[in-house]
């Protein structure tokens, strides 16, 4: 199976990327759940880099004349989806931080008023 230059390049890049993500997860810098999309898309990318017929077929379905352009389209869609995932996660975290801050503030008030009433009793 002879690969074209662009296929070799994208194969090397996507394998390196996959290994990089693997290492980030292994070192606990990225949580497995957030990495699922990265791993999935990297795997599909690797597959499409090697499987030229598959790529040609998919490109034809989308009406794309130059098959590797489909890879770029796929990459852009993957990035958008992952960014949307992060928007959701960040929004959830924002909500949690707000709740924590409020609870902390209320806890401090509770503590202070108890200290005051202990002081008054003395």
């Amino acid at each position: 199976m002879i690969l074209e230059k662009i296929q070799i390049i994208s194969l090397i890049l996507s394998i390196s990327f996959l290994l990089f993500i693997f290492e980030l997860i292994r070192r606990k810098k990225v949580k497995e759940a957030y990495a699922i999309l990265w791993l999935f898309f990297a795997a599909v990318f690797i597959l499409l880099s090697i499987w030229k017929d598959g790529l040609d077929y998919l490109a034809a379905i989308f009406g794309i004349y130059y098959p590797p352009a489909f890879l770029f389209l796929f990459l852009i869609v993957a990035i958008i989806l992952i960014l949307i995932q992060f928007s959701v996660v960040v929004s959830g975290q924002n909500e949690k931080i707000k709740k924590l801050t409020q609870e902390l503030g209320l806890l401090k008030e509770n503590l202070e008023s108890r200290k005051r009433s202990i002081n008054q009793d003395e």
Binding site: R26, K28, K31, E32, A33, L39, L100
Partner: protein, 246 residues
């Protein structure tokens, strides 16, 4: 000197079960400390738990999921100097009368964690068919990763000694359904596991925190997490690398 036992019960929207869980647990384990972790419930779980006056209660401001809630329980047990901890679900599936057997097993064998398994004697509630397939897959995956055969990898009914309590307080896998990941983590970091046959019950009321079928997404996520935990250096080694990071 009396040993201190902490029974950790994470609860999320269990207002229909929590009073019964506390009362029954107390009936069978009067000298133990019952710890309810209210995982940001939107119902009256907290108020009902308080009303029994038989449990200590940690009221989390946000919902963390079972992993985060249970870890909070371990942190409490570690800081308060408990010798043993037992994890119990808040939905009455885990029989509180088996707590003493789990702890006895912990003391008798020289292990750190005892898992209450449904699938040794096949007695009691056996879970739905799809769940059992999922459990079978996780069983094989765990065996592949650690070489250890566990009959009930998703069982949350577990007992821990002091060693395990301190470890879990710091390193508990905090994502959604941590039981299988906890297994791999424990094996990887030198904690010894053992299983004991227990008889579980069907969930009484309310909704399971795992949806009625083990979804594909859950299986992929958990299997992936188990895989990476198996690949990681031990927590001790990870700590050392963190010290050198900027």
């Amino acid at each position: 000197m009396q040993e201190k036992i902490c029974i950790i019960i994470p609860c999320f929207n269990e207002q229909n079960n929590v009073i019964e869980v506390i009362e029954e647990t107390f009936r069978h384990n009067e000298s133990a400390t019952i710890l309810i972790i209210n995982d940001g419930s939107s119902d009256n779980t907290y108020e009902f738990a308080v009303s029994t006056r038989k449990a200590r209660i940690i009221d989390l401001p946000c919902n963390l999921g079972v992993g985060g809630a249970v870890q909070a329980g371990f942190m409490f047990a570690a800081r308060q100097g408990f010798d043993y901890a037992v994890k119990l679900d808040g939905d009455l599936q885990h029989p509180p009368d088996f707590v003493s057997s789990l702890i006895a097993e912990l003391k008798n064998s020289s292990c750190d964690i005892v898992i209450g398994s449904r699938f040794i004697d096949y007695d009691g509630f056996q879970s739905s068919f799809t769940r059992r397939i999922g459990i079978g897959v996780l069983k094989s995956w765990a065996k592949l990763l650690t070489g250890i055969a566990v009959t009930d990898p998703t069982s949350g009914f577990r007992a821990y000694n002091r060693n395990a309590i301190e470890f879990m307080a710091e390193h508990y896998p905090s994502f959604d359904y941590p039981e299988p990941e906890e297994l791999i983590l424990a094996c990887k970091n030198g904690l010894k596991l053992k299983e004991l046959s227990v008889k579980m019950r069907a969930r009484k009321s309310g909704v399971s925190s795992i949806s009625s079928s083990i979804s594909l997404y859950y299986m992929v996520k958990v299997s992936l997490a188990m895989f990476f935990i198996a690949l990681r250096p031990t927590e001790k080694a990870l700590k050392k690398t963190k010290e050198y990071d900027s």
